[in-house]
Every structure is written in structure tokens, then in C-alpha cells.
Amino acid sequence: MTGGVFNPHILGFFCHWCCYAAADAAGVSRYQYPPNVRVIRVMCTGRIDLRFILEAFGCGADGVFTGG
């Protein structure tokens, strides 16, 4: 929290072929969106292990966005 505004700390798991590509395309089109998400690229959402998500919350993530 800074200055009373809650700025969530969010971890993203993006599929290389889908969501990651869509995010790149959003960049090319210069769409703007909130800067709160930190992305871990995986080749497929199927790679995401239950441990990863729980670990992220255990480490204090306010949210986990998995995108395929």
C-alpha cells in the first residue's frame, strides 16, 4: 500500500502461445492496462502446478492470474 491506495501484487502465468501472445499483441496495438501483473511465461497452462499457485499466495501474492 502506498498513500492509502492499495496496489495489488499480482502474479501471472501466461501460456506462450495464447495469453502471452495476446499480451504482446496488446503491446503492439498500444492498449493500456494496469501495471500490477508480473508475468511468468510457461509453454502451456497445463504446465502450471498446484504448488506454484499456492506458493505464490504463500509468498504474499494478492492475486494469481493464469491465462491460456
Partner: protein
């Protein structure tokens, strides 16, 4: 571009021109004259010192004369070769033997005034002409006040003004007083569709680029007011209409349908006066007027034509035919890009691949006799196995990143992270000199893990991997951080937050990099056969082209005969009989020893991967297994069947193709027919399908002219939204108007109606000029129904490949990879990709064939190294991985009576489902190990994590 510059089989001769071309196809001798650069591009490090010291200012031609540069300069940072050059016209050393400052200050000693022009004689097999387009004549621009009024600029100039690395660093200002712009007008069709300047054709690209430039301008300054003046809005490219509609809505762009004849200056502002199509007269003042200049034939087109021995069309572009759109009139000489006719980037890139196939067909016998292959030094295992020594390179990407993210801060922060022994910022990491620099730094600092914070690994990772390989490091020892596409570009309003995000992402990447391990790169043999799915014009062309390049081809067609939609076409746009084109294709396909045609056959299942596909093709109820190395999708599309306008209920309501078929049966069909009403965009652009079908406007005009030719006094009304007769078909549009075809524009919210009364049909349409509805009695109503996608779902599922929202196959990249799918080894052409006329389908089929032939010609395909690996000791043989693997890439086998799993490396696509589901955590994913991902998560959390 960088890739072309890096290929050992491409020699680039800059400042060169063709002087003569002797000989015959396969054995040409080309005489080439090359002007010196006066700077040795092998020695030049592109440091820019020469530009700094040169005392002679010259106008910067690359920046459209809006800027000043110096005699030694480089056009832009990513130019290939990435080397400066000297413009001899103003150079004091060259003209007066004085100065020589640049040569004295160049530490690389790259400047060489002893260079002389060279006359080269090249033995070559084929010639490809790609000289691009010429610029609109100043006299044409002058009609709009250009040259008299400073704030009248061309679209090319405006493009430079919006560019962050351009003359105003992206600030949008009036050129007269450098004050911020408030109101801009774009005038379309400057030097296009204009008889008075001799350019009757449509330049095809200006409508879309104007929308793009207007959008970029609004991104810079949301308060800008922008009006665009169109005659017709011609955004017929794949996905263009959707992009335009989004832009119009998002940015509030005003679209006005009027042609502005002149520009006046009033009190320092620019006055435009126009009449709307409902007859109102308007005038307004603007701060800047952008002239959307068209694409001309290249300035030296005539000289090129004479030297190369080819014909030009009446506009000075290279003349080609609908059925051979890439062949110039001299055998062995091919043409691609705007010289063949004005066109956008996707079509140009497609044609470029297509001509490569043409040349490859011609030269297939001598393939690989003169090629050089890249070899990499042996991997330095000693350095790789040392503890991590990480180098971080943070890219400015000009101002793309550095304009938002504090690159220096990110670089300094990276230097504080564990195991980082080196951190540096680079202006353009991907430029050739920067890559060289990165390689030197890696070696000099004994780095064994590299983090590049720049753009997307999807586009640039291969480039940096190549750099690692070139200095003996494993390609897997690099991790990219996407601080452009997913940071600076999307958080441009929040520079501080973007910088924080970039730091976090770098920290996460460094955490992963510490755990990166070398991965083995393997290759698999390619089965030298192509499977082409679909036997229409595109499929047959692709199959023939692959076969002519020397590879076997299986052509699968669902129906009982070859031909597809071409079978229904009667005349081509250039007046050829379509049946002749069809018969010729079929004859060549049937007679080709390398093509095996399977009719009434369907692909039911495909397994395997590039180089080693196995398909199950069902023919006559029986599945046949076919092994092949690549796949070309040419499944076509179909004529849309509308539910509206009484189609199917009244036999006097036809589609354009049905009209064509009826006309082909004889003139008797037109007996008693006096009035014909054509309705455009019946299925397309909204009603049944959201896309523009691209070819219906030209098809309607072609048929209208045919009708007028047979029966000159027939009355034809054409109801349209935008006539999209782009390119040279604009000539036909003009001819149709001259011959009395009446064109009435309608708005999508007031579509025409077909009304039946007392056995007669009338079409009711709102006439904007009369501001009233009018009824036109019609003996025939002809609908331009558009192109619907074929039944692509089943094949898309089998191939695991996505479709566009409209139902066409989605290419890997609209501009850069227009005929490839994201999955390796699968290519795309024809209507399966999207609606397009015959010549474009044929060019695209050639392009797909060119791409498909690459793995076939190489004989080997590299297997991705990110594959899973099973730890046999930990494996309990439960079989979960085997049953969950979507690619059958894991098999179970017995070791001492115990079941164990094993990855079939060549089939593995690296998804990692096996790893995330293994009960004993026995499977590790190359490049994405549990440890690495966990390290990223911990680094994400930073100090929050305990």
C-alpha cells in the same frame, strides 16, 4: 531484415543498380554497378562519432527532409547493414580534398575514401525484381498547397512526425510555428484514382495507413480532433475492417465522404471546403492537412524494364497476368511487392515468398551446389559448468522502452542482483552492432548466463540464442525479459510503475537464469513429402509448385473433382477464360509424376510433428495412412448463402457467380432483361459475416461490364457501401461508370429492400441526394454474397490450430509470417486464409509452397530443445503422464519388470502437463523446471517471501 543480413547465403549489395541482363533462365549474367559507401561495413561499429564530427549539415532524406543529419550517417539504428555511409554530394573531402575529420576521428578506421565504384558481373540463375514503389509527384501535391503552406504535409512526413525517434521525437506540432496540433485533416486519394495526374488506379494501402496514422496521433494526444476525407473507405485487408471500426470508435475519428479539391490558407490555418454526398456544402479550418499520397510506379521503372527486358503496364508497374501474378514477361525474371501493383505489407511479404518458390522451381536441379551453411563453435562446457556468472543487457529500443521505463535505473538495479557480474544498457539490442557488442561482453566477462531485458521472446529469443551459439554457449542459457510489448508500450502513462515492473521482471528473470542449464539440440529427418489439403486453385498451385521444386506431394480433395471455386468462375479479371486456367492447372497436376491426387478423400487425423507427420486420410470409407513432412492447408471457402433479399425464394434473385454461370450458357439468358440491380455487401461487413469479402466489388464490376458488352442498352444499378475496386481494378470501375452503370451508395442502417409485387420485383433504396426512398424495378437482382469460411472447425481441431473469429485459419503473424501457422510445418493459402481474388490466391499458394519446401529441402528439422525428461529412479510407472500427454510423446516400457516412463523427444512439444501432474515429481521440463519457476515466484515476492 536482421535475419537476411545474418544469412551466409545472402549477399547484400547496397547503392547498386542493374546495368544489363544477358543470357537465359538458369544462366543469366547480370552486370551491376555499385557506388561506394566510403565506410567499410565490416569495420564500422555504428558508434556515430563520424556524424558528430562532420561539419557539413545535409537534409535527412530518411526523415523526409524534416531533419538535418551529416554527410556520414546511418538512416536508422536497425538498418542493415548496420553501418554508416557517406553521402558524397556534400562531402568536403570528396569534393574539395579538405576536411577528412571523420576519417581522423574514426577509431575503428572504417572510413575509406579510396573506395571506387565497382562494376560487377554476376552469374545468376534467376532475377527477382522488388524495387518497391515511387513517390507522388510534387506537381500533384502542389495542387493541395503542398510547398506553399508549411502545414500541408504528406502522409510519409506525418509518419516520421509520429515516430518517437523521428525529427520531433514524436511530438505533434505544426511545422509553421512548432505549436501543438489541435485539429488535423487527412485527404485520401492524393495521386490515386486521379485521371488528371495519370494515376487512374487505387493505391490500395492509403485508407488503412491513414486510419493507423490517425490512431497513433490520437495515442500521442487524446484531445486531437481528426477528420478523414474518403471517397470510399477501402480497408479490405484481412482483419482491417475490424481494426478500422475499433479505431473509429475508440479514437472518435470523423469519417467524411468527400473529395477535397484544394486547400486554402486563412489566418495561418488551413481551410477545407467540401460538399457532402447529400448535397450540403461545408467548410472548416484545420491546423494540419495530411495528404495520403498514393504509391506510384518506381521512378526508374522504365529503365529497369528495358534492362531486364520486361513489359510494364500502362501505369508503369510490372505487367503480370491473373494466373501468373509473379512472373514478369521475360522467363526467369520474377516480380514481388509494390512494383507488381500497389499493395500492403502482408501481400508484399507473401509475394516475396512466392517468387522465392518460382526461383526455386527454376533452379531446383542445382539446389545446394553453392550454399554456405553456418557452423557454430564447439560449446564451451567448462564455462557453462562454472557457477552462474550472469550478464544483464537492458535495451532502450530507441525510445520505445527508454521513453517510458528508466532504463538506467533498471540497469543499475540489475547489477545489484545475486550472481549478476555485468549489466549494461543498449540502444537497440537487436541491431547487428549491438549483437556483436553483447557477444564481446559475454566473452570478455566470462558470462555463462545472459538476461536480455528488451522485447518479446516470442519474436527475438532466436536472435539472441544465435548470438550465444556463435560464441560457443548453449542457446538455452538466455532468459528474455519483456519490458517493451508487456511493459513500456502498455503502461506508457505510468512511467514509474512501468520502471518498477521492469525491475521486478528483471529480478525474476535473473532468479531463473541462475538455474538455467544447457539443453541438447537434436534434429530429425524429414519425410520428403508434402500433404496439400484442398484441390482448388490454391491447392493445385501449391502442389505443383512443391512438385516442381522436386518433392513428392499428396493432394487431397474432398469432392470428386479438382477445381474448387475456380470451376464456377467464368472470366478472370483480366478477361481470360477461367476454364482455360482451370484445365491447364488440372492437366499439369494430373500429368505430374510427383503429385498424387486423392479425390473424394478427407483428412481425418494428423499425428506427429514437422518432418514426421502421419495422416489418416479416409477415401471411400477406408482410412489410408500417409507419411509426410509438411502440410499445406488450401481448403478454400464457399460462396455465402444469404437468407435476406428473397434469395432462394425468387428465382430472379441470383448471386454474382450464378449470374456468371448463366451468362456463360449464352446470350439467350438476357432476353427480356432490361434492368438489373446489383446489391453489394449482402453477406459481408455485418449482416451474416463481419468481414469484407475483398473480391465482390471487382467481381460485380466485371460482370456489369460483361453485361454491358453483350447488351449495351441494359440498365444496371449497383447499390454499394464502399466500392472496393482496389489496385488496377479501379480502371474497370471507371469504365463501368463511363458505360452508364449507376452507382448508389447506401448506409448499413438503411439497407436496400427487395419487394415482390404482382410478379414483379422492385428494389427500394434510400437516395441520399434526393433524401428520399426510390424504387427501382428489376428484371434481375444480383447479390454480392461474399465468401464464407469453409467447414474449418474439424480440420482446425485435428491440426490443433486456431481460427480467426470469422472462422478462417489464423496465420502465425499477419505481416511477418502470413502463410505459416504457429505450429511448425503447417502452411496456409487461398480462401482458407481469408477472402481474396484468384491472382492473390495463386501468389499465396506459391508462397506457402516456398515455405513448405524449406524443411523438405533441408532434409532435417531441428527439434525444440525444451522437452521433458523423466528421472527413471523416481518414476513409479503410474502412467499418468502417458495418458495425459496430448502428443503421445511419452511411452511406458519395462525395466526389470517395473514400468518406467520415457519421453519421445522428437514428439514432445514442451507443454509440461506431464511435469505438473507427476505424482513423484520425477519429470523435469527443460527450460521451465520446477526449481526455476519456484525461483521466479520467490523473486516475484521479493522480501515479502519468507
Amino acid at each position: 531484415m536482421v535475419e537476411a543480413g545474418r544469412s551466409p547465403n545472402i549477399e547484400i549489395l547496397t547503392s547498386a543498380r542493374l546495368e544489363a541482363l544477358e543470357g537465359k533462365p538458369g544462366r543469366f549474367t547480370a552486370s551491376v554497378h555499385q557506388e561506394p559507401r566510403f565506410i567499410d561495413d565490416d569495420k564500422c561499429t555504428a558508434c556515430g562519432t563520424c556524424t558528430m564530427y562532420c561539419p557539413m549539415p545535409i537534409v535527412d532524406l530518411f526523415n523526409e527532409r524534416l531533419n538535418i543529419t551529416r554527410v556520414p550517417h546511418i538512416d536508422y539504428a536497425q538498418a542493415v547493414p548496420t553501418s554508416y555511409y557517406i553521402d558524397p554530394r556534400a562531402c568536403l573531402r570528396i569534393n574539395y580534398e579538405t576536411c577528412n575529420l571523420c576519417a581522423q576521428t574514426c577509431t575503428a578506421q572504417a572510413i575509406d575514401f579510396s573506395q571506387k565504384p565497382r562494376e560487377l558481373s554476376l552469374d545468376i540463375g534467376a532475377v527477382i525484381l522488388a524495387p518497391g514503389f515511387g513517390r507522388t509527384d510534387l506537381s500533384v501535391l502542389a495542387k493541395y498547397g503542398y510547398g506553399r503552406f508549411l502545414n500541408v504535409v504528406t502522409s510519409m512526413e506525418f509518419e516520421r512526425l509520429t515516430c518517437a525517434s523521428g525529427p520531433t521525437e514524436g511530438r505533434l506540432v505544426r511545422l509553421s510555428d512548432r505549436k501543438p496540433l489541435k485539429k488535423i485533416a487527412f485527404l485520401q486519394c492524393v495521386g490515386s484514382r486521379d485521371e488528371t495526374c495519370g494515376n487512374g488506379y487505387c493505391s490500395s494501402v492509403c485508407c488503412m495507413y491513414a486510419i493507423k496514422e490517425a490512431s497513433v496521433a490520437k495515442e500521442h494526444d487524446p484531445d486531437l480532433e481528426i477528420a478523414l476525407f474518403f471517397m470510399d473507405v477501402r480497408t479490405q485487408g484481412k482483419g482491417f475492417d475490424a481494426a478500422r471500426e475499433r479505431a473509429e470508435e475508440k479514437y472518435g475519428l470523423r469519417v467524411i465522404r468527400a473529395r477535397i479539391p484544394r486547400v486554402d490558407q486563412v489566418d495561418g490555418r488551413l481551410a477545407l471546403t467540401w460538399t457532402t454526398d447529400d448535397g450540403k456544402s461545408c467548410s472548416e479550418l484545420f491546423d494540419m492537412v495530411v495528404l495520403s499520397e498514393g504509391l506510384n510506379a518506381p521512378k526508374d521503372a522504365e529503365a529497369i524494364a528495358e534492362i531486364a527486358g520486361i513489359e510494364l503496364n500502362h501505369y508503369g508497374f510490372c505487367r503480370t497476368l491473373v494466373d501468373s501474378p509473379l512472373a514478369a514477361s521475360r522467363k526467369g525474371v520474377y516480380v514481388a511487392g509494390a512494383f507488381q501493383g500497389p499493395k500492403d505489407i502482408p501481400e508484399s511479404v507473401t509475394q516475396a515468398s512466392g517468387v522465392a518458390a518460382m526461383a526455386s522451381e527454376l533452379l531446383s536441379e542445382v539446389r545446394n551446389t553453392q550454399t554456405v551453411s553456418l557452423s557454430y563453435p564447439e560449446e564451451d562446457k567448462a564455462i557453462e559448468s562454472e557457477g552462474p556468472r550472469i550478464g544483464v543487457f537492458v535495451c532502450h529500443c530507441g525510445s520505445n522502452i527508454a521513453g517510458v521505463v528508466d532504463v538506467d535505473a533498471v540497469r543499475d538495479y540489475a547489477g545489484t542482483l545475486p550472481d549478476v557480474v555485468f549489466s549494461r544498457d543498449t540502444l537497440y539490442s537487436c541491431s547487428q552492432d549491438a549483437l556483436k557488442g553483447i557477444a564481446t561482453k559475454i566473452k570478455g566477462n566470462r558470462l555463462n548466463r545472459v538476461v536480455i531485458a528488451a522485447c518479446s521472446p516470442r519474436t527475438h529469443e532466436p536472435l539472441f540464442q544465435e548470438t550465444l551459439r556463435s560464441i560457443g554457449l548453449n542457446a538455452a542459457l538466455i532468459e528474455m525479459v519483456n519490458i517493451r510489448d508487456q511493459c513500456s508500450w502498455v503502461h506508457s502513462q505510468e512511467p514509474e510503475a512501468a520502471t518498477e515492473k521492469a525491475k521486478d521482471l528483471v529480478r525474476m528473470a535473473v532468479a531463473k537464469a541462475r538455474l538455467l542449464e544447457p539443453l541438447e539440440k537434436t534434429t530429425v529427418d524429414v519425410s520428403p513429402t508434402a500433404l496439400v489439403i484442398g484441390g482448388g486453385a490454391a491447392g493445385m498451385t501449391a502442389a505443383l509448385c512443391i512438385a516442381e521444386q522436386g518433392f513428392e506431394c499428396v493432394l487431397v480433395e474432398r469432392s470428386d473433382q479438382l477445381g474448387g471455386n475456380l470451376r464456377r468462375l467464368v472470366w478472370t479479371m483480366d478477361g481470360q477464360e477461367a476454364s482455360k486456367v482451370l484445365d491447364d492447372l488440372i492437366k499439369r497436376v494430373d500429368g505430374h509424376p510427383m503429385v498424387r491426387v486423392m479425390l473424394e478423400a478427407q483428412v481425418k487425423d494428423v499425428s506427429g510433428y514437422v518432418g514426421n507427420f502421419t495422416s489418416s486420410i479416409v477415401k471411400g470409407g477406408q482410412p489410408v495412412a500417409v507419411d509426410h513432412g509438411v502440410i499445406v492447408i488450401a481448403t478454400g471457402g464457399r460462396e455465402n448463402r444469404p437468407k435476406s433479399y428473397k434469395y432462394g425464394r425468387n428465382k430472379r434473385v441470383l448471386t454474382q457467380l450464378e449470374l456468371e454461370e448463366s451468362l456463360a450458357k449464352g446470350k439467350g439468358f438476357l432476353k427480356n432483361i432490361k434492368n438489373i440491380v446489383m446489391i453489394q455487401c449482402v453477406g459481408s461487413r455485418g449482416e451474416d459475416m463481419s468481414h469484407c469479402s475483398r473480391l465482390c466489388c471487382a467481381q460485380a464490376i466485371k460482370n456489369a461490364l460483361k453485361l454491358k458488352g453483350i447488351k449495351p442498352n441494359i440498365r444496371i444499378y449497383c447499390l454499394y457501401r464502399d466500392m472496393r475496386t482496389y489496385g488496377f481494378s479501379e480502371d474497370l470501375f471507371k469504365e463501368a461508370r463511363k458505360k452508364g452503370v449507376i452507382f448508389i451508395r447506401y448506409e448499413p442502417d438503411r439497407r436496400p429492400e427487395v419487394i415482390e409485387r404482382d410478379g414483379r420485383i422492385k428494389v427500394r433504396v434510400f437516395d441520399r441526394l434526393l433524401e428520399d426512398e426510390i424504387d427501382i424495378f428489376a428484371c434481375l437482382v444480383v447479390l454480392s454474397v461474399g465468401i464464407a469460411p469453409g467447414d474449418n472447425d474439424a480440420l482446425a481441431r485435428v491440426l490443433k490450430t486456431p481460427l480467426t473469429p470469422e472462422g478462417f485459419f489464423l496465420e502465425a503473424h499477419v505481416k511477418l509470417r502470413p502463410v505459416e501457422l504457429a505450429s511448425e510445418g503447417i502452411y496456409l493459402c487461398g480462401l482458407a486464409h481469408g477472402p481474396k481474388p484468384l491472382d492473390e490466391s495463386i501468389a499465396q499458394a506459391k508462397a506457402a509452397a516456398a515455405k513448405a519446401a524449406i524443411p523438405l529441402a533441408k532434409g532435417q528439422a531441428e527439434v525444440a530443445s525444451t522437452v521433458s525428461r523423466v528421472d527413471k529412479a523416481a518414476c513409479i510407472g503410474c502412467g499418468v503422464c502417458e495418458s495425459l500427454c496430448p502428443f503421445n510423446a511419452i511411452r511406458l516400457f519395462r525395466v526389470n519388470k517395473r514400468r518406467k516412463a520415457e519421453t519421445i523427444t522428437a514428439s514432445c512439444k514442451g507443454c509440461g502437463i506431464c511435469a505438473s501432474h507427476c505424482p513423484t515429481l520425477a519429470i523435469s521440463m527443460g527450460g521451465f523446471t520446477d526449481e526455476a519457476i519456484m525461483a521466479q515466484i520467490h523473486a516475484f515476492a521479493g522480501e515479502k517471501c519468507v
